[in-house]
Symmetry: C2
Subunit: 433 residues, 2 copies
C-alpha cells in the first residue's frame, strides 16, 4: 500500500483515533514506518506520538531534529513529554530542552529529577487547586474565567495558605451544590495523598484499591505539587500485572517491538544461567552413573520425577509471586500460605505418585522400582511445594524482585533434588535389572 | 486479639477505609472472620462487602439470612450487587431477589440475564442522560434539583428522542462553559460506545487504549442502557493481565483464598495432564535404552538438551501469549514475529550449543559426543522457538485461550523431540563408551 500511493494512505488514516494511528505504526514493518510518517505529517499529532510503544517511538524520534521534538513535547502533558524524552540519550535530551519554552523546560527538568518509575515522573503539573475560603460560586466563576486550566480534570483540590491540600471536591459535587455553599462544606477531607517519591507500582495498587480517578501528589514538606490521573495508571497496572509472566519466563520486558540484538542478549543471558542449573542437575545424574548402568530403566523414569516436580513448583511459585505483587500476601498470612501449599503438595505427591507407581508396576513388574518411584515423587512434590512458596517469599524479604529470580532457584531445587531422590533411593535399595 | 476483646477490635477497625477492612478479612484466618464480622456489625457496610475477595465474600454471605443480603444489595451499585449475587446458588439468589424492592430487583435481574464477564454485567444503570435541547444552565439546574442521581459521575450523556446517545460532555467542560451555551455546542460527538454483549476483556482493552474514564453502554438497537466507569475496569485489567502467568503455570485463577479442595483439584488435573507429556518423553528415552546402555553419559547429558529447550520455549510462548492478549499481535505482523523468533532461536542454539559442546569435549574428550550435543541443542532450540510461537498462535486462531493450553503442547514438543534429537543422533552415529 505504501509503495508510492501516499495520498491513498493519508485518506485511509485520516479518520482514525490517535491511539489507532499509533497502533498502525507498531503493526508496520520497521522499514515502512518513516514512509508512513512522511505521508501523514500533519496527522502525526503529539497524541499519536504519546500513544506509541516505547521502542517504536524511540526509533521514530531519533530521526527527528531537536526543534521538532521540542515542539511536540510542548504540546504534550508533562508526563507524556517526560516519557518521550527519558528514552533519548543525555546529549539529545539537552538539545531538545534547549529548544523549549523556559516554563515547559523547567517542568520537564523537575520531572526528570525524580527517579524513574516514581510518582514524580508520572504526575502532571496541570491541576486545579483553590484556596479554602472560596464558595461554589467563586470556584465556578474562577473556572469560567481562567485560561490556564487543563482541558480535562476530575476533581478540584482545596489548599491552605502553605499550599498543603486540605480536601478535595469531585466535579459532580460542585455541579450539584448551590452557588452560596462554601467549598469546605462540600469537600471531602479524607483523601489519598501520593508522596512524590512513591514507586509507580505502589501508586497503581493504591488507585486500584481505593477506586481513585485522580489523586494529589505532595512533596516531602506536604505541599501539593501535581496530580496523577487514572488513565496514566491503567497502563502501569497492565504492564506490572502482565510483567510477572514475562519475568518468570526470563523474557525480559517481552516487547515484540524491542530491537532484535537486545532481545537475544536478554534471553540468552537467562538461558545461560539456566544452563548452570541444568549442569548441576546433570552432575547429580553423573554421580549415579553406576546405578543407571545396573538398571537403565532409571534413565527412562527419571524425567517423570523432575518434570512433575518442575510443574508443581511453577504453579506454587506463580501463585506466590502474584500474591506478593498484589499485596495479598503479607507477614500475617505467610504461615497459612505455607501450610496450604504443604497440603497441596502432599495431596499431589501421594495422588500422582501412586498413579505412576501402579503404571510402573504394570509395565516393569518390579516392586522395588515402583516403590522407589512413589517415594521419590512424594519427596519431590513436597520439595517443589515448599521451594515454590519459600524461595519467592525469601527473595521478597531480601528486597529482590521474586518474579525475576525465583525460577532459577526453584528449578535448581526440583531438578537437582528430583534426580537425587530418585537415583539416590535406587542406589540405596541396590536396584538392578 | 479476637479472643473476647471485641471492643478493642472495634476501636482498631473503626478509622479504616472500607477497602482496608475488606483486606483485613482476607488476611484473617477463615475461622476468625465471622468473629470479626459480629464484633463490627455496624462497620460492615455494603462497601466493605463489595471490596472483598470473591471467595471470602462467598463464605461470609452464605451465613447471612436472605433479608440481610437483600438489604446490602440495595445499598450497592448494580454492578457490585450483581458481583455479590452471582456467586450464590440459584435458590439463594431467588430468595434474596424476592426480598428486594421491585425496582432494584428488576435492575439486578436484567443484569443477570447478560452472560458472565460481559459489559452488561459490568455496567451500572445509574448514569446521567439528558435531551439534546438543553443548555448548560438547564443542565446545572437539573443536576441541582434532581434527587435520583448517582453520587459520583464523570460525564453527562446527551441522548436523542429515541434514547440513542448523540454526544458526551465531561463535567469539566460544563463547569467552564457559560450558562447560555447549548449542550450540543460543548459536547463531543465522537464517543466510544460499548455494546452490552462485549466481553469484559475487550472492554478493558478499549478503556486502556482510549484512556477512558467512563463510557456509555448501548443495547442492540443502539439505546443507552448503562455506563461503565474506569474503577470497575481497573480490577479487570489487573486480573486479565496477571491471569496469563497463572494460566500458563496451570494454577487456575491462583487465588490464595480459594477453598483448598478446589485448588487441589485444579492443580492436580494440570499435573496429571503434564504427566502424560512426561510419559511420552519417557517412552522416547525407552526407545533408546540400548544406546544409553552403550554410553551411560547420554543419560547425564540429556536433561541439558531438554532443559534448555523447555526454557527457551517458555520465553517465546510467554511473549506470544502476552502479545496476543494485548492485541499487539495480529495477522499483519504474524510473519514478522515468526521470523524474529527463528533468529532468536538460531542465535541461542548456536551460542549455547557451542558453549556446551566445548565443555563436553573438555570433560569427556569425545569429539562425536560433543558434536551430537551441539547438533541436538541447535535442533531443539529451533524446535522450541517455533513451537513457542506457532502453538499459541494456532490455538488462538482456533478460538482456544492460548494461556490455558499452550504449556502442555509446547513442553511435549521440547521434551519429546529434545530426547529424540539427542538420543537419535547418538544412535545414528553409534556412540559408545
Amino acid at each position: 500500500l505504501d509503495q508510492g500511493e501516499s495520498e491513498r494512505a493519508y485518506d485511509l488514516v485520516e479518520p482514525l483515533h490517535p491511539a489507532d494511528i499509533a497502533d498502525l505504526f507498531e503493526l508496520l514493518d520497521p522499514s515502512d514506518r518513516p514512509l508512513l510518517a512522511s505521508a501523514i505529517t500533519d496527522l502525526m499529532s503529539a497524541d499519536v506520538i504519546a500513544e506509541m510503544n516505547d521502542h517504536v517511538r524511540e526509533l521514530l524520534v531519533e530521526d527527528l531534529p531537536a526543534e521538532d521534538i521540542a515542539e511536540i513535547a510542548e504540546q504534550l502533558d508533562t508526563d507524556d513529554a517526560v516519557a518521550m524524552l527519558e528514552d533519548l540519550d543525555e546529549e539529545d535530551q539537552q538539545a531538545v530542552l534547549a529548544e523549549m519554552e523556559p516554563e515547559d523546560r523547567a517542568a520537564i527538568e523537575s520531572a526528570l529529577s525524580f527517579p524513574e518509575e516514581s510518582a514524580g515522573r508520572l504526575m502532571s503539573r496541570d491541576f486545579v487547586a483553590v484556596p479554602e475560603h472560596m464558595t461554589v460560586g467563586d470556584l465556578t466563576d474562577y473556572l469560567r474565567k481562567s485560561r490556564e486550566l487543563p482541558t480535562e480534570f476530575w476533581e478540584v483540590f482545596i489548599v491552605d495558605a502553605r499550599h498543603h491540600p486540605v480536601g478535595t471536591c469531585l466535579l459532580s459535587w460542585i455541579l450539584r451544590a448551590p452557588r452560596s455553599v462554601a467549598l469546605v462544606d462540600v469537600m471531602k477531607r479524607d483523601q489519598t495523598l501520593i508522596p512524590v517519591g512513591m514507586d509507580q507500582e505502589e501508586v497503581a495498587l493504591r488507585f486500584q484499591k481505593y477506586a481513585l480517578i485522580s489523586a494529589a501528589v505532595v512533596d516531602e514538606s506536604g505541599r501539593l505539587v501535581g496530580q496523577i490521573t487514572v488513565d496514566d495508571v491503567v497502563h502501569i497496572i497492565q504492564e506490572e500485572a502482565g510483567e510477572d509472566a514475562l519475568l518468570l519466563s526470563g523474557a525480559g520486558d517481552g516487547d515484540i517491538n524491542e530491537p532484535l540484538p537486545q532481545t537475544i542478549r536478554t534471553r540468552m543471558w537467562w538461558l545461560f544461567i539456566n544452563l548452570g542449573t541444568a549442569i548441576l542437575a546433570s552432575s547429580v545424574v553423573a554421580l549415579f552413573e553406576g546405578t543407571i548402568t545396573r538398571l537403565v530403566t532409571l534413565a527412562v523414569l527419571m524425567p517423570i520425577v523432575t518434570g512433575m516436580g518442575g510443574n508443581a513448583a511453577t504453579q506454587t511459585m506463580t501463585v506466590t509471586v502474584r500474591a506478593l505483587a498484589t499485596n495479598q500476601l503479607t507477614s500475617s498470612n505467610t504461615w497459612r500460605m505455607i501450610v496450604r501449599e504443604w497440603w497441596i503438595a502432599t495431596a499431589n505427591g501421594w495422588g500422582l505418585g501412586a498413579l505412576m507407581a501402579i503404571a510402573c508396576q504394570l509395565i516393569y513388574h518390579d516392586w522395588w522400582l515402583s516403590f522407589v518411584l512413589l517415594l521419590a515423587m512424594i519427596l519431590n512434590s513436597l520439595n517443589a511445594g515448599l521451594s515454590g512458596v519459600l524461595i519467592p517469599m525469601g527473595l521478597n524479604r531480601l528486597k529482590i524482585d521474586p518474579a525475576v529470580t525465583s525460577t532459577v532457584f526453584v528449578t535448581t531445587m526440583t531438578d537437582t533434588l528430583g534426580f537425587f531422590f530418585f537415583l539416590g533411593l535406587a542406589d540405596l535399595f541396590r536396584l538392578s535389572a
